[in-house]
């Protein structure tokens, strides 16, 4: 039996944006299901997430996400990957909750009944079933981020890349979003976060500093190393 491809595998990965080398010489082999990416602002972790999600092309090096090279087969990767961002307002694309979730299924051109059933099932799963007809922009911050998760998970992605998905949320909603994100529902997760307690819940953690990998290992070890850096 062929082993499952690594979630992320890269070597010599570099990204230059606006003349600045944002990522430099990143080498990682991460077969784990949930990957935490931590580091200070400007360390390159969000850029790493966008490269993994296929939003930003690499400048140099090799990269495989779920065994796919994003630069060679972007369409195949996009079909299997979903992205959740920190600002819930910026992820709402259509007026009502159900319509916004259904928008994620447009590329699949599903029959209407099947599309509506999948939307309803996803909204129920994330506790938004009663809000299907509500104006998406009238939801609370926590509900909006759950809506963003619905938009991501309705496509049944193999990988969810989340860039600080709990940044705008209170403790209760942050926990709710994290529980959904990290639940073992057959998907893998690359989670960029400043929440070190959340990073500790992942299978592996990567610490970025100055666009380079400063540490990889068990979340406890990597978070401890990061805390030592913060204490200096």
């Amino acid at each position: 039996m062929t082993p499952a491809p690594a979630t992320v595998r890269c070597d010599g990965l570099a990204v230059r944006l606006g003349g600045h080398l944002v990522l430099d010489g990143v080498a990682l082999a991460l077969p784990q299901r949930t990957i935490a990416v931590i580091g200070e602002n400007g360390s390159g972790k969000s850029t790493f997430a966008r490269v993994v999600a296929g939003l930003v092309p690499r400048t140099a090096g090799t990269l495989e996400v779920l065994g796919v090279d994003p630069d060679r087969d972007a369409a195949a990767l996009r079909a299997r990957t979903a992205l959740v961002l920190s600002n819930p307002d910026a992820q709402i694309l259509l007026p009502t909750v159900a319509e916004d979730v259904a928008f994620s299924l447009r590329p699949q051109r599903l029959p209407r009944a099947e599309r509506d059933a999948r939307v309803a099932a996803t909204l129920d799963r994330f506790g938004l079933g009663d809000l299907a007809g509500r104006a998406a922009h009238d939801l609370s911050g926590g509900q909006k981020q759950l809506l963003a998760l619905c938009g991501a998970f309705v496509r049944d992605p193999a990988l969810v890349v989340a860039d600080e998905p709990t940044a705008y949320l209170d403790a209760r909603n942050a926990r709710l979003v994290a529980d959904h994100l990290l639940s073992d529902a057959g998907h893998r997760v690359v989670l960029v976060t400043h929440d070190l307690a959340l990073a500790r819940r992942c299978d592996v953690a990567v610490l970025f500093a100055g666009g380079r990998v400063a540490g990889v290992g068990t979340p406890d070890d990597v978070v401890a190393a990061y805390e030592r850096v913060l204490a200096c």
Binding site: R50, L94, P95, T96, R106, G133
Partner: protein
């Protein structure tokens, strides 16, 4: 004012989105083209009331929705009425105000009775003939839909700018708030672009 889809099974709900866009556009244009007279006011009001009363939510609920739509336009209508009354007289002011109110209320029947996805698909079909000009109909339709959905966000960004000005002891002013509003809007546009890409739109 941003109207949201309200479910129902009336004749407008059942009508295909493309045909509905044509019908409502025609009705709105016909009302807008009425002469500036008291008769125009009456015709306009009847068109709007009949349209909302027969839409399928029931007469009372339909007229309540019409009242809600007009209330959402109150500042625009008040401004129009006052300016027109001063420069053109009472009768033209009343006719113009009613024509604007009725045209917009009739136009609002489209999002009220049609799911956003159906409007999006209809717009794609309507804009498709313009592809000879190099226009990507799917992108243009999506642009219109997302732009309408984004109106509440822009209103919130403008409110945030005003609050930031107040927090610093400055009286809110459009001239001072324009630049930060533009910066916030462009940042939001960037994030929206990423969100679209994340949903498979490139």
């Amino acid at each position: 004012m941003l109207s949201l889809f309200r479910s129902g099974d009336g004749w407008l709900h059942r009508m295909p989105a493309g045909r509905k866009i044509a019908l409502l556009a025609l009705a709105a244009i016909a009302v807008a083209a009425l002469p500036s007279s008291w008769l125009a006011c009456g015709i306009g009001l009847v068109v709007a009331m009949v349209g909302y009363a027969t839409v399928g939510w029931g007469v009372r609920a339909g007229l309540a929705e019409l009242a809600r739509q007009v209330w959402g336009l109150r500042w625009l209508l008040a401004f129009t009425a006052v300016v027109q009354a001063v420069f053109a007289g009472v009768e033209p002011a009343a006719a113009t105000t009613v024509r604007i109110a009725v045209s917009l209320a009739v136009a609002a029947l489209l999002p009220l009775t049609t799911p956003a996805a159906a409007v999006l698909e209809a717009l794609e079909r309507i804009l498709a003939p313009l592809s000879w000009m190099g226009m990507d109909a799917a992108r243009a339709a999506l642009l219109l839909s997302v732009a309408l959905t984004t109106i509440p966000v822009l209103a919130r960004l403008a409110a945030e700018v005003r609050e930031a000005q107040r927090a610093r002891g400055v009286r809110p002013a459009i001239s001072r708030g324009m630049l930060p509003f533009l910066v916030l809007t462009l940042r939001h546009a960037d994030q929206l672009g990423e969100a679209l890409a994340a949903r498979g739109v490139r």
